[in-house]
Symmetry: C2
DNA sequence: TATACATATGAATAGAATTTCATACAAGTA
DNA sequence: TACTTGTATGAAATTCTATTCATATGTATA
């Protein structure tokens, strides 16, 4: 089936590790090994995940000596995350029973 | 691994059929069979997809006789799609080579 | 209540994405 | 140039997700 922009984009974000990385990069730009340590995941996993995020311009990289420093492209991501936060709050207050989001 | 709100939400959207359905519901609310015809997909696939979308409150359903009419919760989804459109435009103008989004 | 139409559901299978691990590459330093 | 450190990559193995299809449920109507 045809892969739309949306599908590519959402698939990229639909992954716990990549979300973790995004959260970690919200704070500040970091190298691969820094990220790897901080979130306690293997270097190669982190590299794969970063490559994926980069392929959608969700992060960008800058070489600095031996290290590659990744930073978050905040313009798109932060507002999206905010919208989801609001969504979750609206639909998953104390009363929510059915919604998967707050299980 | 822990499933965050974000992960659940994005996973739900990371699917071509569900995106198709969302697009179709932008226009107006529709029944399952209407959707099924319109997007030329099997009824049971559409039902499964709708159940998934509903579990995150992305769509809601209203019974109307034998039919169940699904409508899009536009408040969250439309602005997210717009952000992605802008993102794609910004990063994938005519010059874009590497980005998966515009391949 | 028997029938038809609309939708939902469960479970097996098929398909896709992730993890893992060995290894390659790249940049700096002795 | 050999060595070390940091990062990327490929491919097999694993895990996750979607599709399929048979069937169940739910709603109306003859």
């Amino acid at each position: 089936m045809y892969k739309s922009t949306y599908h590519i984009f959402f698939s990229n974000l639909a992954n716990p590790l990549r979300i973790k990385i995004i959260s970690c990069l919200k704070e500040k730009a970091r190298s691969v090994s820094e990220l790897s340590q901080k979130i306690e995941e293997e270097q190669s996993k982190v590299s794969h995940a970063l490559a994926s995020l980069k392929s959608c311009n969700i992060v960008e990289a800058e070489q600095k000596g031996k290290q590659r420093i990744y930073s978050l492209n905040k313009k798109t991501i932060l507002p999206i995350l905010k919208l989801i936060d609001n969504h979750a709050q609206t639909f998953c207050g104390s009363k929510c029973v059915s919604c998967e989001i707050c299980v």
